[in-house]
Amino acid sequence: MTTTPQAVRRASPRTRRTVTPPDPARSLLPDAEPVRLLAENGTPLPARTDYPEPPVEVLRELYRRMVLGRRFDTQATALTKQGRLAVYPSSRGQEACQVGAVLAVRDTDWIFPTYRESMALVARGIDPVEVLTLLRGDWHCGYDPTEVRTAPQCTPLATQCVHAAGLAHGEAYQGRDTVALAFIGDGATSEGDFHEGINFAAVFKAPVVYFVQNNRYAISVPLSRQTAAPSLAYKGVGYGVPSEQVDGNDPVAVLAVLTRAVAHARAGKGPFLVEAHTYRMEPHTNADDASRYRDNAEVDAWRDRDPLARLETYLRARGVLDDAAVAEVAEQAEAYAADLRTRMNEQPTVDPLSLFDHVYAKPTPQLIEQRELVRAELAAARDEEGDA
């Protein structure tokens, strides 16, 4: 067979690669390995131009809020044991994700948390008592979502993914540059609404960041029962959504990746999907028994990857955090917890008649009747108490 050198060159794969534009799908795929900027022992890894390290003052604030967040989480668990909370889903071990994600958005952005994001909400500056209203049980959502630009904590899995798409589109439609940050867990990526949300966001180019905290378990069910995908971040490509995976116990990397994702969304390029690999150190809630489905050895292995210790080591080595600063933050955290304890030990007042106030903007005649019935019941009970 005779061919001219020129023809050979035209046909060679190498030449073709240089003239064909990159496969668009490939550019949507995450890195093969989770992005990591700190090693597990806190030593810095080679810098990456695609994920520049956040400024040092931001990292110090990240550290401060992570310490506060962990102290809050410990306090909430203790309050549950004392019967002050009906239930508490801890996010201990996920501090880098909970706090890093919140620091990546502006106060004017909206976040869409799940029930496990209590720590993220306090990191956003919401009053911890208002955060715990849901779990204490005196109402459902304790804060005003419009004031703190934070949706109520979402229990129906993945349903918030579509709300985030709608809100982000609505804000853009009205000329505002708001980004929506939707939290979701690994198990909930199996729900249809995750897919519908990310697809709607992609089709309408809505500025949403979908942030999957893959903490390895959906209550007791391991990740292998949720997906056969190499990474949950691969779920973006089918919807035309760029995605990334990150070491969720590396606070610097989480903040760096989410900062880029938020910038992508705000620039009008549509949604971005991030999967953070992390671990739920505690059971699903205080009511769960994790020993039935996972070994202590597995938990211990993750203890060595503690995100807070990792950041502290790094900041100390860089000379931007010293014993005095650590002690000061610890003191703040103790004061924060003490204040929370005091306020949570006060019995909240609940008004049965308020049950009728917000079903509709104006109660229906039937609700007015029922309210009257309850009012009479309460009055009768008070009279009986008075007689006794």
């Binding site: 979502p145 419009t146 609505g170 903007a361």
Partner: protein
């Protein structure tokens, strides 16, 4: 001027879009096509793709997207293409649309209108003819509205779009193309008011949506039997108008409730119970129900066996103990 319910709904959407920039209309095939029933015909051309648009084919997505849009301050009006196609959206409707105001003590409201073309009588194949109103009416936080006249179609839809609460707006498909004299924009009685469509002395027929024309036809036919029947159109299932219905039944002393949905645990059962609670001493006979059979909606060639028609209504009226004898139907039981 003679017009159809479909045209009245279309005009209501157009007028709402023109009146308020926050109104957006979306769903499946509502853009260029104008909806499979043409209710959104011409809206995209007139108001642009930002105001009236097609979405991915995913009903939970459509309703959840509307929740987010409402949170951003817009007033979404979404179309569920057919009654049974709305079921994927049920979690969004029951867990979020209905509850957000209450969960947040009024801080967030979700003024969404979910339009549901519903019920049968059009020869539709399976999954196209369900009467799903009871699911929504049983969910506190939703308003559930169903027009039976052309004027009401316009007026109730405009009111639904302006309402601060979410409204499931149920459009009886078989009435879409029936025409009547109407002068749009019409304004009729507000939400929460039932309307006496035909006054009568002897018994009250309570109906809503597609059952209203059946009740009116039955009342007309009953004149030959010597019965003068009153027909009350419920119009808004939630909020429900006990007062108008109670007043009518106290006047007539007899009541038949008519609905197209299967009877068991349906809206008609609720109405019958409420009438009995409030009118017991005025009643000369038990409150009867005429409803669809307790079966999955039948295939087109069998739907007329299922649907409550004039004869079934008249049979029920005949059983209202006119001669003060117990109802023979229950005698053996």
């Amino acid at each position: 001027m003679a017009t159809t319910m479909a045209k009245a709904l279309n005009t209501a959407l157009a007028d709402a879009l023109a009146a308020d920039d926050r109104v957006v209309v979306f769903g499946e095939d509502v853009g260029a096509l104008g909806g499979v029933f043409r209710i959104t015909d011409g809206l995209q051309a007139r108001f642009g793709e930002n105001r009236c648009f097609d979405t991915p084919l995913a009903e939970a997505g459509i309703v959840g997207f509307a929740v987010g849009l409402a949170m951003s301050g817009l007033r979404p009006v979404v179309e569920m293409q057919f009654d049974a196609f709305a079921y994927p959206a049920f979690e969004q409707i029951a867990s979020h649309v209905a509850k957000l105001r209450n969960r947040t003590r009024g801080a967030l409201s979700v003024p969404i209108v979910i339009r549901v073309p519903y019920a049968g009588g059009i020869g539709g194949v399976e999954h196209h003819c369900d009467s799903s109103e009871a699911y929504y009416a049983h969910t506190p936080g939703l308003k559930v509205v169903t027009p039976a006249t052309v004027d009401d179609a316009y007026s109730l839809l405009r009111e639904a779009i302006d309402d601060p609460d979410p409204v499931v707006f149920m459009e009886p498909k078989k009435l879409y193309f029936a025409s009547a004299d109407a002068s749009l924009p019409a304004r009729t009685e507000p939400f929460g008011r039932a309307v006496v469509r035909r006054p009568g002395r002897d018994a009250t027929l309570v109906a809503y949506g597609p059952a209203v024309p059946v009740a009116l036809e039955a009342a007309e036919a009953a004149r030959e039997e010597g019965w003068d029947l009153e027909v009350v159109d419920v119009r808004t299932i939630v909020p429900f108008d006990d007062a108008t219905i109670t007043a009518s039944v106290r006047r007539t002393g007899r009541c038949v409730v008519i609905q197209e949905a299967p009877g068991f645990a349906g809206v008609g059962a609720e109405i019958a119970a409420r009438v009995q609670e409030r009118c017991f001493h005025a009643l000369h006979a038990p409150v009867l129900r005429v409803a669809g059979l307790d079966i999955p909606y039948p295939a087109p060639m069998l739907e007329h066996t299922h649907l409550p028609g004039v004869d079934r209504v008249l049979d029920a009226v005949a059983r209202l103990q006119w001669d003060d004898q117990p109802d023979a139907r229950w005698a053996a039981a």
